[in-house]
């Protein structure tokens, strides 16, 4: 099938071989419709060898369809998938050499963990002894060597997904495909497994496409995150770039916490919001002066407790290094503000927003982006 040159079955052997043949993947103008809905509408992504790209978006945005087209479980109406420069559209899924981890538990119930991991090797006609050794090594790599003899129903959800990961990696895939592999797990396991997947992926250098609706997962694991909506790629960028310079309002509001505050855009690049004028970052070209909404991150706002201020603190959430305070402003606008120091006021009370900051030089309101006002209630 493929060049299984790894006669050396140790984890090192696997690493070297996988690293040596890291693969580039190009999704070219993929479109796919189901009935009247366009699941994918001209999606293009270039993945560098060894890169982990996450596709992030709400359900129904087409991210899973994209992954399934790469895996060969769906076919695109138009466009193509190139792996190392070769169009693989006509290659059946069984010959694509792609390891996949599914959202639901996908282990074969009739096989032990070891046999599950060895299944792909068996399909590649690797001898029993060699196969068992390699499968054992991989189970060891995901920390499940003691569970080798157990059947899937004896394993917890997290363990099952780790076996599934080992099984996908056992075939030394050219591309690793992860279809929301963590969403069925509980929070703590999810966090551990997230780190484990990333560490392994970096060690093996396997080009990986990761689909998720969980932005935290995407931002923490991926080299680059592609945010999708309605079958289109809104923006693809490194996590911090995505956070700091969102290309569209959808990305800005989908990634991280974002406040939408009514404001007045002046000529030039200044905007007046909450009584102070600040420069606008990432201004859209098609917005003219007048009433707009500005998008501001919670850390871009400051607050101060004053008598007769213009906001009411409704909730306070302690997040460790910051406390996130929800403030209700006039006009039914609620904003989230991150306060660095532990709040000095004991409970709900009146606060002033956008008052002159105590530290000179710091903006009281930092506008990240300006967008046209949306009609109320939209």
């Amino acid at each position: 099938m493929t060049s299984n040159t790894a006669s050396n079955a140790s984890a090192d052997g696997i690493r070297q071989v996988a690293g040596a043949r890291s693969t580039s993947v190009v999704l070219q103008d993929l479109s796919r419709s189901f009935g009247t809905t366009r699941a994918l509408d001209g999606l293009s992504i270039r993945m560098a060898p060894g890169e982990l790209v996450a596709l992030l978006g709400p359900s129904g945005c087409g991210k899973t369809t994209a992954l399934r087209i790469v895996a060969g479980f769906e076919s695109a109406d138009s466009g193509s998938v190139l792996v190392d420069g070769k169009d693989i559209s006509s290659v059946p899924s069984a010959k694509r050499d792609m390891g996949m981890v599914f959202q639901s538990y996908s282990l074969f119930p009739n096989m032990s963990a070891l046999d599950n991991v060895g299944f792909g090797l068996r399909m590649r006609r690797i001898g029993t002894a060699d196969r068992r050794k390699r499968a054992g090594d991989l189970l060891d790599m995901v920390g499940l060597a003691p569970q080798a003899k157990q059947y899937p129903h004896q394993l917890s959800g997290g363990q099952q997904q780790r076996v599934a990961l080992a099984r996908a990696l056992a075939i030394e895939p050219r591309v690793l495909l992860l279809d929301e592999p963590l969403s069925a797990l509980d929070a703590k396991v999810r966090l551990q497994l997230r780190e484990q997947i990333r560490t392994l992926q970096q060690r093996l250098g396997t080009t990986t496409l990761f689909v998720t609706h969980d932005q935290e997962e995407a931002l923490s694991m991926a080299d680059r995150v592609g945010v999708m909506q309605h079958g289109r790629l809104e923006q693809i960028a490194a996590p911090d770039e995505l956070y700091k310079h969102p290309a569209t309002a959808f990305v800005a509001e989908f990634v991280g916490v974002m406040n939408r505050i009514p404001a007045e855009l002046q000529d030039g690049e200044m905007v007046t919001a909450l009584g102070s004028s600040v420069p606008v970052r990432n201004q859209r070209a098609d917005v003219s002066a007048g009433p707009v909404d500005v998008l501001v991150r919670p850390e871009g706002l400051t607050m101060q407790v004053i008598e007769g201020g213009n906001g009411i603190v409704t909730t306070r959430t302690f997040l460790g290094s910051v406390t996130r305070v929800a403030v209700l402003l006039s006009g039914e606008v609620t904003v989230q503000i991150d306060k660095k120091l532990p709040g000095r006021h004991a409970g709900p009370g009146y606060v002033g927003l956008g008052d002159p900051p105590r530290r000179p030089g710091a903006d009281s309101v930092k506008a990240l982006a300006a967008y046209p006002n949306r009609p109320a209630g939209a």
């Binding site: 010959k95 390891g99 996949m100 996908s106 396991v189």
Partner: protein, 283 residues
């Protein structure tokens, strides 16, 4: 067959009932069990009284017994093989590719229960070509139709418990083609369901009378009725013996299926569903 279905029906509520509830109604459970036992055991006991123990021994040596039994066994085997060969790929295909057709197929497979066997037999007699009518295996072909509702439901339940689509795709992505996937991944996980289907089909064939007698073939049930005119006692003894042997056979299949199921966590062979065992927690 009735006896097997009965033990299951009495057993399963006990297993699934919540302990708290079960404890508060122990009397009722015993009453129900007793009523059911009386209902099923009295006819059996009466039959045994009527036939006498001696008649049981003489059944085997009666004229035509071996031929009739052998014919029924052959028909059971052929019917089961054809039924599974037809229903398994159909059910798998429908699950994977045509999930919307599942309802329709369920409706179609229930038809044989609604249509009386007499109607089916007369219809087949009218239409079937001569060479088919001259072999007893024409019965097997009709039994396949009769067995369809049971076999389909058993296999369907097994497929539902498996998450077929994901497992097939996983196998595919690991490099297994369709045939390999079917034999190495799908079939081993359906043994319980297939055993259920087999149990039902075999029980059905071994007990079917109407069609066989209309087609003038002396299957085991037909032989019992015919022999009844010669010696009532021996005929009843034969029925008892048949019941016992069938019951033993079905129990054996069930026990084997359950033991296999326990190892891989596939759940128990019950007649209509394959109960899925819960996986250990989410953590």
């Amino acid at each position: 067959m009735a006896a097997v279905a009965d033990t299951k029906a009495v057993e399963s509520p006990q297993r699934t009932a919540r302990p708290g509830r079960a404890k508060s109604f122990p009397v009722w459970r015993w009453v129900i069990l007793l009523v059911a036992a009386v209902y099923f055991l009295i006819p059996l006991w009466s039959a045994l009284r009527f036939a006498g123990i001696k008649a049981l021994g003489s059944v085997v040596s009666q004229a035509g017994f071996t031929d009739a039994l052998w014919l029924s066994v052959r028909l059971a085997i052929v019917t089961t093989v054809i039924t599974i060969a037809l229903m398994l790929p159909t059910a798998v295909y429908v699950h994977l590719r045509l999930p919307k057709v599942r309802r329709l197929l369920e409706g179609i497979t229930i038809l044989p229960i609604v249509i009386p066997p007499v109607v089916l037999s007369v219809g087949v007699l009218q239409v079937a070509p001569g060479f088919l009518k001259s072999t007893p295996y024409v019965l097997a072909l009709m039994y396949v139709i009769l067995a369809m509702p049971f076999a389909y439901r058993a296999i369907d339940a097994g497929l539902r418990a498996l998450d077929l689509k994901t497992v097939v795709e996983a196998s595919n992505s690991l490099g297994a083609g369709w045939i390999t996937t079917l034999f190495r991944v799908v079939l081993p996980n359906l043994t319980t369901a297939l055993l259920s289907a087999t149990v039902l089909t075999v029980a059905l064939v071994l007990g079917e009378f109407t069609m066989a007698s209309l087609f003038l073939y002396q299957t085991f049930p037909v032989w019992i009725v015919v022999f009844d005119q010669t010696s009532g006692q021996v005929s009843v003894a034969a029925s008892l013996l048949a019941l016992f042997v069938t019951w033993l056979f079905l129990m054996a299949i069930t026990v084997i299926g359950t033991r296999r199921g326990r190892r891989t966590g596939r759940g128990q062979v019950t007649l209509f569903t394959v109960a899925r065992q819960e996986t250990k927690g989410g953590a």
